[in-house]
Amino acid sequence: MYETKYHKASSVADAVSLIGKSDDGKLLSGGQTLVPTMKARLAAPSDLVDVSGIADMHGVSISGSTVTIGAATTHADVAGNADLQAKCGGVACLAAGIGDPAVRHKGTIGGSIANNDPAADYPAAMLALGATIKTNAREIAADDFFVGMFETALEDDEVIVSVSFDAPAKAAYAKFPNPASRYAMVGVFAAQTADGARVAVTGAGSDGVYRQSDMEAALDGDWSPDVLSGVQVGSEGLLSDIHGDATYRANLVKVMARRAVAGCA
């Protein structure tokens, strides 16, 4: 790992100020992607601003039908939250399937969505739930937030504070993990929201997470796994790599979508 300067932020304002003053700094939350990337010398931030200790950025709160999750809440804390399990089990279940137990004890939702890895799980949930990403400066709709592979609408010194969404009538996530890395080869989050069916796909798109609108239209007519049999998923714009080509992934999108809808509670 190259040299870096570590700072522990005491508040959101402190984090914004520290990152603003840094030369080429990066925010550090759980670090489960950033630290390995730095160890491999693929990233060399001049400064690290650790936001994991900021109290305001922790925890799951539910008010009416609105679920809010602090950006520094770990995957384990999201997975184990009994209120969330009751309100939106799909998100808790998704969190329980990220990485492994040690990673879930450290990795955070804010870090996951800020990184926007094309195979990360949380972006699919945020997009399918029509979540709002709240930063120190503004609120960004998930539809506008995920811009492309490892790219988001965040400015350089912008800090995600929390995410919130309206609990859907039904939602579930199904993923086909890569047998070695456990990252999603394809993951599909399906949700029956107040605005209709929303289906978001991760792991498959060469521009990162995206919505499968033809599936959404089909599910609006009939919320059932079988209705998806009639939807053709093309392979254009899908990833091809040593783990699977675009045609294989296109088929997985369909299979995972069926499993997600079938698994909806």
Binding site: M1, E3, Y6, K8, L28, K39, S52, G99, H105, S181
Partner: protein
Amino acid sequence: MTEVSMTVNGKAVKADVPDNTLLVQYIREHLRLTGTHVGCDTSQCGACVVHVDGKAMKSCTMLAAAADGAEVTTIEGIADNDLHPMQTAFKENHGLQCGFCTPGMIMTATDMVKRYQADGLELTEDAIRHELEGNICRCTGYHNIVKAIADGASKMTSA
């Protein structure tokens, strides 16, 4: 350099370390507690698992500075006198061959048993295998590790 102070295995420790020092480097090279291993160095194998504030974490995937103020337990710190019941179970069930992954396996095992017991959940064979997703063993084929954890879990209940 950053001054870090933490409690490791019940003992207060303090040092001035370069900011890019990993927790595992601090544990092994500064504190000379070499029971915690570095297997893959890419955050996959789990040989470096320690408990930070009571939770299993990969000490190769966090900075020592980020553990400032934390309570850390390593493999050296789990036994009261002789062996921890989980260590005994690994020994009795032949849950290791070369032993390189064993410290991480045991730290992951005690963490999962504590969590399952606290939640009143049954630690089934399937659950053990799922919970071991972040620990790689290249010798045993896992069967005896799974047996050892089930045995260790029953010993931890009776302990």
